[in-house]
Amino acid sequence: MTVLAQQLVLGLLIGSLYGLAAAGLSLVFGVLKVLNVAHGELIMLGGYGAFWAVALLGMDPFAALALVVPAALVLGAVLFLGLFGFVMRADEETRIKNSLLIGFGLALALHALAVQLWTADERSIPTPYGGAVITVAGLSLPVVRLLTLALAFALIGALHLLLAHWRWGQAIRAAAEDWQAALLTGIDVRRAYLLAFAMGTALAGAAGTLVTIGYSISPSIGLEWTLKALIVVVLAGLGSMLGTFTGGLALGVAEAVSAAAFGGPYREVVGLVIFVVVLLVRPRGLFGR
């Protein structure tokens, strides 16, 4: 029983990062109707950015967020202006197809770049508080992963508040709901798209940082994280960031349960099963509008 409970807790902890990873993908997909399949590579890049900040600048791993997030924001703006912005003129169907092509190309390029810069080895960031564990009711909770969960939740909360109350956050939601109506109310929709994409990339950077701290990264983790994020987006549906975060937690728990019930290899299967079942039973997702 304790073993299962322990697995559930670890599932929740990793699930918070699934939620954070999915939030960026969901924002970009929901607003721009562009599926960025290089989202996982952006997470990977964020992870290496944090790795560098710690290794070269000697920063505290969690403080690296303060460097990685703004840098990712700028990178996102550059990627929108240089690549994804061009598909926005097309109608929705063409837009998704073309964005897939751009995304796959970008994913390959970023993967190759990461192998060049950081080699194909797995890396992680050692923290000063490294292996510290809190024991509650017989469950051991790694301090570092507890912190990543808290930070992931805080970031999602901040994003939620930005979208709800910030002027441009409301503009982004308006553009997501009806871009033509948004134009007719005087909103610069292209700028709203640029902001949404930049924020999505910043979320990927933050997720990557936390993954590197709590777990590990290598240049090839991109696809895996894109898939996890996609499963969570399908499970949770579009339109609510808190819903997306909950979806991430749910995927983490589902993985833990299936690994405990059927054995380790089934951890990766359950997500795909969820993916298919949700699409069949409730295509707009649990919390979708």
Partner: protein, 237 residues
């Protein structure tokens, strides 16, 4: 103020507008009548900048609008209530209205505009925290007109504001246009309800198959045999 000259617009190979010219002056109410598919919506969307003309031009205070992005057309004082309202359904009444005042010039006048909209439609003040999707069609139309008024326009274009609305509320919407006009805003109205539109308007144009078939003072068009036969029924109802 608004001048349209020789406008030609096509949807693919289908020609929707075929050399349309018209003007709307400051402070005027101008109605645009015509059967379904005549190109009325196309004309409004082209003026607003959402569709690009193949030939002809749209000028506003002498400025060519063809290269101006739609959100900047709004900033220049030309607002539009699109067909079917196109509100942000998951947001509240007040959020929808606030988004109308998004651009800098409108934001400066935001408080005053909001009071004006609530004075125009008192029902909206009571429901300002309500999600728009839960309102009736007529109330939604009030929000749509209100949102456009929040942009602080000098010309308000409306595409079929009475479509799908309870008759009782149609009058409220159309009456509000007179109030809006008294406040110094020109109104360019596309409307199926020809009699009501002509009662309201100073002048009117009739658009048929992409061309202006008739135009003149509203009172004259009411007496025009072609208009009476085609739009007011054999007995002029």
């Amino acid at each position: 103020m608004l001048e349209v000259q020789g406008l030609e617009v096509a949807h693919g190979d289908v020609r929707a507008l075929d050399g349309v010219s018209l003007t709307v002056g400051a402070g005027e109410i101008v109605a645009l009548l015509g059967p379904n598919g005549a190109g009325k919506s196309t004309l409004l969307l082209t003026i607003a900048g959402l569709l690009r003309p193949r030939a002809g031009r749209v000028t506003w205070d002498g400025e060519d609008l063809r290269r101006v992005s739609p959100h900047l057309v709004v900033e220049r004082g030309l607002a539009m209530v699109p067909e079917g309202r196109r509100l942000f359904g998951s947001m509240t009444v007040e959020e929808n209205l606030a988004l109308g005042a998004f651009a800098p010039r409108a934001r400066a006048a935001r408080e005053r505009s909001l009071e004006r909209v609530y004075a125009l439609f008192p029902a909206l003040r009571e429901r300002r925290r309500q999600v728009v999707r839960s309102l009736s069609g007529g109330q939604q139309q009030m929000v749509a007109v209100g949102r456009a008024m929040m942009t602080n326009p000098r010309l308000l274009m409306l595409d079929e504001p009475s479509l799908g609305i309870a008759p009782r509320l149609v009058d409220a919407i159309l009456d509000s246009l007179v109030d809006i006009n008294r406040g110094g805003v020109a109104v360019f109205l596309v409307e199926q309800n020809v009699r009501a539109a002509l009662a309201l308007a100073h002048r009117a144009y009739v658009l048929e198959q992409g061309r202006i078939a008739a135009h003149g003072p509203a009172a004259d068009l009411l007496e025009d045999p072609h208009v009476r036969q085609a739009y007011l029924g054999p007995f002029g109802r």
